[in-house]
Symmetry: C2
């Protein structure tokens, strides 16, 4: 009774699927390409595709895997380089990176998010390493900010989660299109809003 490792052909198929999907998405965009089309183009059965990926959102999540690691590395580097800057500055840096990522991978991110029902674990963004990374890094920074004398302690994980939600691609693009803000303006507004925690002025 030993653990069977993944079959060689299964691994090849996974790579084939990712390559095929990438090519099709590049050529036609994300939304117009169907799962059937991906399977057919890759020359594999429908079920083989669905066995790997529960739905297109799940596939997109995996396609973002490399990019997300790249992004996490960039951010870690940024945080390392600016470790002596005030927390608000570092939080702002994360915001900037995140917004840039949305701009660059909008199609994939939206396709991913729009398929997420609440129940199913598989392909749920909130269970991805990227979500945890963002939440944990932000949570740490928020802790630094709030270490002081607040009589009402803020739950920093909760706050980080809220910040991530408020920077959802859907909401982001609504802001951009509806109000006509530029990318830089939105970044600025986010930075001001979130770093209000760090440099608050007494109101009223």
């Amino acid at each position: 009774m030993s653990i069977r490792r993944e079959r060689k052909d299964a691994l090849e198929h996974r790579q084939l699927i990712l390559r095929t999907a990438h090519d099709l998405f590049s050529e036609h965009g994300v939304q117009p390409v169907s799962m059937h089309q991906i399977a057919k183009t890759a020359g594999i059965g429908q079920a083989t595709l669905y066995r790997r990926y529960a739905h297109k959102g799940d596939l997109c999540l995996d396609m973002l895997y490399d990019y997300s690691h790249q992004l996490m590395n960039q951010i870690n580097l940024f945080l390392e380089e600016h470790r002596n800057e005030p927390p608000a500055f570092r939080l702002g840096g994360i915001v900037d990176h995140w917004v840039d990522a949305i701009e660059e991978k909008a199609d994939l991110i939206i396709a991913m998010e729009s398929k997420m029902s609440c129940e199913d674990d598989r392909g749920n963004f909130f269970h991805s390493p990227m979500y945890r990374f963002f939440r944990d890094r932000m949570s740490e920074i928020l802790s630094e900010m709030l270490v002081s004398d607040s009589q009402q302690p803020i739950d920093t994980d909760f706050a980080a989660h809220s910040i991530i939600c408020s920077m959802s691609p859907i909401g982001y693009f609504h802001m951009k299109q509806e109000k006509g803000y530029t990318v830089e303006q939105i970044k600025l507004h986010f930075r001001r809003l979130f770093t209000f925690y760090a440099h608050p002025r007494m109101a009223q």
Copy 2:
């Protein structure tokens, strides 16, 4: 050349659809009921249904119409009654009402939101009266809070929009299930987080 008003049978069908959908949703839940099933049960054609509602999310949005007006009235009443309380208190009240609404109408709201692509106007939550109502009320309250001496003015519409996004049902239920918070704990955390704008303590 005059404007033709809506045909009588069209109106009847609209009401029939809403009633049928309500009954089916009550019996089986929202997600398992298909558009085909709704049309068939109502005794109308597929196209007749789709002509009214672009997709199930659009239908859900309309089903929330009455409830949303009720909710808006409740909140207006609340704001009226507590107009002399500090803005943070009033913002907190809105949060409470919103969370209660999510709890009560979760299925419909999630079905609605999960169908929203960015482009199509029809059935987009961000174009609904409810969104505008929440954004505008919150924006007003935030203005009161921030009227003071901030050298970096916060865009209150932007802030209100962000708050709405951070209270999205998907994010809310993730918090609730994953971290095991009770409804009241989440309300409290939201209140603290958002009203941090109003009673901030200097950090660092």
